[in-house]
């Protein structure tokens, strides 16, 4: 089955001209036709444009050019990243019929690497959520059990990759929005170090936390896509001019002597016992492969969720001020500009976005700034310091990605605080600005749902977590299991 190949397997077949880019793009479109009615991973998909890109790739391949690492590989994009000429709605009604006038740097880079960039993937509105239930266009479903959520906010990206509707996808991660859905859908998701990947063309949620990263079918694929999108960009002043290594070359299988930290603060109550057991088994496997397990402490862990929801909502309340009905998107008329803004925003934003704008506005408002926002930024310093001190002793840290497997649609949507607390393992990584990756490490028994393992790395330590993840993955078969979607 063509659409079930990994990206590196496909790139190899394309280079040897065993298949054409048109065939594989059509195979993705056919799979979308077969399964997306059940998954709803895609908000839209411009098949004609995808096939035209595939034909252009085939021309290059016919001319003998295989200098581009992703030439002819179909890769789909979360609806928060701009692709010129395609819709961009961020899972929200407020953007109306917005068509992107330019492409994000990551999209230009994927295209320069030869990828067929297609489709708009569903997400929680403005990337706010952990279940993709906050999309204005209806939830995405988990390919392993369509009664369950795929995680979020990049739930469409995770479901599309797990469901073999595309070979890889891009998502964004502000507090776990790549890693948590990757864990819940059983694929690989990597949040790069803050500054590793340009955010030009990414609609901002919380600017000091947001990063774009890949969803992939295995660790090697994640390394390939990460290499293609990384690097400094004059159009994003927060991108760091750090050389981009050959990430795939780091996957040499040798992890002997690498030190892997286990944080005692992450042994929390409320963990699903099957998730705990799977992670413990994975840790033993790392030991079998020659890694050394070291107990570490991240003493400020219990304050991370509170600090995060102050900082992220404060930044969101400022970033989302631009959606005012004046320059783009939907507009509800008013007698004066203020009435127009209030009505447009009241009608255009969904409940979770409104809740977070209200919270963010409050924590920044006069009289509360020092008590909430400034204090949270100081706690952020303590959390970052915890990690930098831990990384003096270890090369990476291993944790569960999420305390439980996928929950049912509607199960937690009435209780935002419970939803926020489920982000406990992923949030600190964004506050500290380090990198993290989730990869499959097992399944729950009944029902059979994927469990994710998280590896956290030093700033710009992506090679190390990729090497560790790859060595582990190749010694297991979790990544080869396919969800029960039929043929």
């Amino acid at each position: 089955m063509l659409h079930q190949l990994t990206t590196w397997q496909l790139a190899d077949k394309l280079a040897r001209r065993e298949v054409s880019a048109r065939q594989v793009t059509q195979a993705c479109l056919d799979q979308i036709g077969r399964v997306d009615g059940r998954l709803h991973a895609f908000l839209s998909c411009d098949a004609g444009d995808a096939l035209a890109q595939a034909d252009a790739a085939d021309k290059r391949l016919a001319a003998g050019a295989n200098d581009r690492p992703l030439l002819g590989v179909p890769i789909a994009i979360k609806d928060v990243i701009a692709v010129r000429g395609q819709p961009l709605r961020c899972g929200s009604k407020i953007l109306g019929q917005f068509i992107s006038p330019y492409s994000a740097t990551v999209v230009e880079k994927l295209q320069a690497a030869g990828a067929v960039v297609f489709g708009r993937l569903n997400m929680d509105e403005f990337a706010m959520g952990s279940s993709t239930e906050n999309s204005a266009f209806g939830p995405t479903r988990n390919p392993w059990d369509t009664a369950r959520i795929p995680g979020g906010s990049s739930g469409g990206s995770a479901a599309a990759v797990a469901g073999d509707e595309c070979f890889a996808a891009l998502g964004s991660d502000t507090g776990g929005s790549i890693r948590q859905p990757a864990a819940l859908c059983g694929c690989v998701g990597l949040k790069p170090t803050y500054g590793r990947v340009s955010r030009y063309g990414l609609v901002a949620f919380a600017s000091s936390l947001d990063q774009i990263g890949p969803f992939a079918k295995d660790v090697r694929d994640a390394a390939l896509v990460l290499g293609a999108i990384s690097g400094a960009d004059l159009r994003d002043s927060t991108s760091v001019p750090q050389p981009v290594p050959d990430y795939a070359a780091a996957l040499n299988g040798d992890i002997k002597g690498l030190k892997l930290g286990l944080a005692k603060e992450y042994m929390i109550g409320g963990m699903d016992p099957e998730v705990s057991a799977a992670v413990q088994t994975a840790v033993k496997q790392f030991e079998n492969l020659g890694a050394e397990i070291v107990e570490i402490s991240l003493p400020h862990t219990e304050f991370a969720v509170a600090a995060y929801y102050i900082i992220a909502t404060a930044e969101a309340s400022a970033n989302l001020a631009r959606f005012d009905g004046i320059r783009y998107g939907a507009r509800v008329e008013g007698a004066d500009p203020t009435e127009l803004y209030c009505k447009t925003r009241g009608a255009g934003f969904g409940a979770e976005v409104k809740r977070r704008i209200i919270l963010g506005t409050y924590v920044l408002s006069s009289g509360y700034y020092d008590a909430f926002y400034l204090r949270a930024q100081k706690v952020r310093t303590l959390i970052r310091r915890d990690f930098l001190e831990a990384f003096e002793k270890v090369d990476a840290i291993v944790t569960p990605t999420s305390p439980t497997a996928a929950f049912k649609v509607g199960e937690k949507s009435g209780d935002p605080l419970q939803m926020y607390l489920s982000d406990i393992f992923t949030i600190s990584c964004n506050l500290a600005g380090i990198c993290g990756m989730s990869l499959p490490c097992g399944f729950t028994q009944n029902p059979k749902l994927p469990i994710g393992l998280q590896l956290l790395g030093k700033p710009f330590g992506e090679e190390t977590i990729l090497r560790l993840g790859h060595a582990y993955e190749q010694s297991t078969s979790w990544h080869k299991e396919k969800p029960p979607l039929g043929v």
Binding site: T238, F303, I310, D324, A330, R345, A371, Q377, R380
Partner: protein, 94 residues
Amino acid sequence: MASDFNIQYVAKLARLTLSAAEEEQFGAQLAGILGYIEKLKELDVTGIEPTAHAVPLVNVFRDDAVQASLSNEVALSNAPAKANGLFVVPKIVE
């Protein structure tokens, strides 16, 4: 702290019209969330510098040179109302 949380005042600051049902629902949910984030007060942060972001860069400059940008037509292509190459907005000055 949560007790003096006035949702109507904050919604006005945020330029956000809320229905009565939303005010009631968000008010209750945000009281719970604010109660939770009070947790940060347990920590002594005396002498700790705030972290605004985690990137080791300051003052990123480029040459002060004109570069290509969106044309007027493209910049207006998503406007809800436009005329004569401009965005149309409600009357601001009497």
